[in-house]
């Protein structure tokens, strides 16, 4: 899963990661940030694109560079790096929209066996009485 990923720059505290995705749309700077939540030891995994003109960072940008697998592998590599330093952390990850969450869920499902060798994976379903589609998918890793 982690064999093909972009080179990553990281802050010394291993909370912020930056890498450049390359493809038909050119070079896109991507940011990954782990933010501690109100519950100590729980972190949110945020991931988005940096606008080359405004510098604005958005997790809603859609930049189809034909490399989603490599990008997700790179994000996964930051997760391993982060948890190497924050071994007791639990991470929550969701997409900004259901379609994006579904993409992440597919990526995780494809490598679930490998991921489960190192992490405990949780998901969240809607309660009974409503449609049991998984929304917004929440994964807590440990």
């Amino acid at each position: 899963m982690l064999d093909n990923h972009y080179e990553v720059n990281t802050s010394p505290d291993l909370l912020t990661f930056e890498f450049i995705s390359t493809g038909p749309k050119g070079h896109i700077t991507k940011i990954v940030r782990y933010t501690e939540l109100n519950v100590k030891g729980f972190y949110n995994l945020g991931f988005g694109d940096k606008d080359p003109i405004t510098g604005y960072i958005s997790d809603r940008a859609i930049t189809t560079n034909n490399n989603s697998k490599k990008v997700l592998a790179t994000v996964a590599s930051t997760l391993y790096a982060f948890t190497a330093n924050y071994a007791e952390a639990t991470i929550i990850a969701t997409g900004c929209a259901e379609t994006r969450t579904r993409l992440y869920r597919i990526g995780i499902s494809n490598y679930l066996m490998d991921i489960q060798k190192d992490f405990v994976v949780f998901g969240l379903q809607k309660p009974f009485g409503s449609h049991l589609e998984k929304t917004p998918f929440i994964m807590l890793l440990w």
Binding site: V8, N38, N44, G48, T90, F119
Partner: protein, 71 residues
């Protein structure tokens, strides 16, 4: 439950990264992914924390607690 990676394997992940001290303060003026963090806090507040001790390296579906079943 800690990661199953050995110390050597953990260090190997760190060794492939490039440490950039400037990155620590590079985005401090930008509250990155605040709405995501707010959403995650809301989820923790309403759904609660899963029973991590009961997890046994398998996918566990944490169903949203109703008031009748909440601890």
């Amino acid at each position: 439950m800690n990661s199953k990676k050995t110390e050597t394997e953990k260090k190997s992940f760190l060794s492939i990264l490039k440490l950039i001290p400037a990155l620590k303060g590079k985005y401090t003026d930008k509250p990155l992914f605040k709405d995501k963090a707010d959403k995650a806090n809301y989820i923790l507040k309403t759904v609660g924390i899963p029973n991590l001790d009961a997890a046994d390296k398998k996918v566990v579906t944490h169903k949203k607690r109703t008031p009748a079943t909440a601890n």
